[in-house]
Amino acid sequence: MREEIRKIQQLMEAADYVTDAPVATSVHLATRLRKPLLIEGHAGVGKTEIAKVMARMLGTNLIRLQCYEGLDAAAMLYEWNYQKQILHIKLHETSGRTASEEEREIFSEPFLLRRPLLQAITQLDQPPVLLVDEVDRSDEEAESFMLEVFSDWQVTIPEIGTIKATHPPHVVLTSNRTRELSDALRRRCLYLWIDYPDFDKEVRIVQLKVPQINQTLAREVTRFMESLRRMRLAKVPGVAETLDWAHALAALHADHLDEALVGETIGAVLKDADDIKRFRAEVAKSGLGPLLATP
């Protein structure tokens, strides 16, 4: 194993992220090859965490672009602060300025709202980590726009001029796979798939992130979550839910699972009314036993 990759693994673990060789290798290649890293996986398995840990590892800023349906260039790149501009015009109505003087004034730095992509390319000290979160929630147009920025690393603002990137950022994109991403984006990126962790890994994660929980309970919780994921649920719970539940149980000073406790706290794990109904029916029929059993 390459020394750098081993070091990355150590650094990630030191930042409280339980990792493995594929993750560390992809992070290593992405930073060295300067290619964007596309991370896909189910909800709540720790994709966003990787970007945060990368930023901590590299000792740099994390700039986050949260994607949503209808995300457009203005929200990604920049927008003029219209209200401020209008106020400025009003205040200087009687000052006798010419139109071009006024224009130069209001289309300048203090009136520019920098959005994440622009922020990412204008960092002063060192390249930041640019996290494009849930890129599957935006659309193909937004993707092509991003790809353009990622290839040229410069942005043209008509009123100001062309801004070249000071330090091209490390780009990490995450996707929950609710939509097929475009081929163009896939070709441009390195690819990492994060699956649900296996039993041992998930127990390690719980013990690392919720140190106050006891061993037995941690194992019970993990076994339980594994069984849940095999049920036909509308919203399959991820590792994030495991941790939420572990925190809740620890706060209640629980040391083992029983029906009453599970019934009270299931809301930390299942977030859909139909799922909860199905779960309760299942427990009413066969109790907790099968859910806690080793498969």
């Binding site: 390459r2 290798t25 290649l29 659309d139 929950n176 796979r177 070709r187 690819y191």
Partner: protein
């Protein structure tokens, strides 16, 4: 590395020259003595989907074996053998791309360019005109792959067709401001053209008996069209209704199709009306003016046709468009005489077949509001 990339390409992975350079650069960063590390690293470069991982691993293992096993390597690199009686149109990988383009022009409702005179196109037409049920099981894999390819291209075309509306919409502040710099008041208003919103699809697929095969193709097709729609919700039904949307997301197509078999219910026949009622009761919010509802069923119903009519009417009132797909329509002598079908027919906006690739291609034309 170039040969490795070529091998991957032969096995269906979309590999570009840029991947090759990245592959070489990646090797510089990896411990070449550690086989797993090299595999993981190259996989991150070359495989863009979890479905491709298995293929990548196979090619990787075959390719990077010791030099003394040259013969075995050569054998392993041969592309997967197609069944002897594969229809001619499916074999020519090289000209397939051209053929696909030409063939799709023929299905474009806007009337595309004249079809290019590529011989493979007519063979493709022959394949596309054959009912799905006439293919042998080992040919189906190839057919699925083709369906996917076609759907992806159509998705791009559907996205492009959405043009901004010419009607006035919200005020465009930026341009308004520019137009009023010399005055204190905002008199001259400029408008922003409204972005056309994306359509939502709801699929209700009959998976009882023989309908199963057609459902699979339709699902495959629409799965790949996903990018053109804001949301695709899928349900299967025979006696009961099951929501399978989430299965279509994070899994491979193979697994989706396998799960569909688990959902199937052989006993009791189809109860269309009851299933529609369950849909209306359980997911009322899914259907609105921006939604296209597609029902795939042959109309053989053991339930109550009046219930079918009333539930379908409820859907029709709320939906932007209701399409009923019946594979039996592929048979020219078919008449919708069963009670179920007769009850449903007057309530749908479009009644079409879905029994072969040509029908699916034509369907894509109706998927815009």
């Amino acid at each position: 590395m170039v040969r490795f990339a070529a091998a991957l390409r032969r096995h269906g992975l979309p590999v570009t020259p840029e991947h090759v350079t990245d592959g070489v650069r990646a090797l510089e960063q990896l411990d070449l003595a550690d086989r797993d590390e090299v595999r993981t690293g190259l996989r991150a470069v070359f495989a863009g989907r979890p479905e491709d991982f298995a293929t990548f691993d196979r090619v990787f293992d075959a390719f990077w074996r010791a030099a003394t096993e040259a013969d075995r390597v050569a054998e392993a690199l041969a592309p997967p053998a197609l069944p002897e009686h594969a229809p001619p149109g499916l074999e020519r990988a090289g000209r397939e791309t051209l053929a696909l383009d030409a063939w799709q022009e023929g299905g474009d409702e806007d009337g595309g360019d004249e079809p290019v005179g590529v011989p493979a196109a007519s063979e493709l037409e022959a394949v596309a005109a054959r009912d799905f049920s006439t293919f042998s099981p080992d040919q189906l894999d190839e057919l699925y792959r083709l369906t996917l390819k076609i759907a992806r291209r159509l998705a791009r075309r559907i996205s492009r067709r959405r043009r901004p509306s010419a009607r006035r919409g919200r005020i465009d502040l930026r341009r308004t401001l520019r137009a009023n710099l010399t005055r204190g008041e905002l008199i001259d208003l400029r408008y922003r053209r409204r972005k056309r919103k994306k359509v939502r699809l709801v699929l209700l697929c009959d998976v009882s008996g023989s309908m199963d095969l057609y459902s699979r193709f339709l699902l495959q097709f629409l799965f790949a069209l996903q990018s053109a729609f804001s949301r695709v919700e899928t349900f299967t039904f025979s006696v009961r209704l099951t929501r399978v949307t989430d299965y279509l997301r994070a899994r491979s197509y193979r697994e989706v199709l396998r799960r569909l078999t688990a959902v199937k219910d052989w006993s009791g026949g189809t109860k269309i009306g009851e299933s529609l009622a369950e849909f209306n009761r359980g997911w009322p919010a899914l259907v609105d003016r921006r939604t296209i509802v597609i029902v795939l069923s042959d109309g053989w119903d053991t339930g109550d046709p009046d219930l079918l009519a009333s539930e379908l009417l409820r859907i029709k009132r709320r939906a932007g468009r209701v399409i009923w797909l019946n594979p039996l329509l592929g048979n020219p002598s078919y008449e919708p005489l069963t009670r179920g079908m007769a009850a449903a027919l007057p309530l749908v906006d479009r009644f079409a077949a879905a029994h072969n690739l040509a029908a699916l291609r034509d369907l894509a034309g109706s998927l815009a509001l």
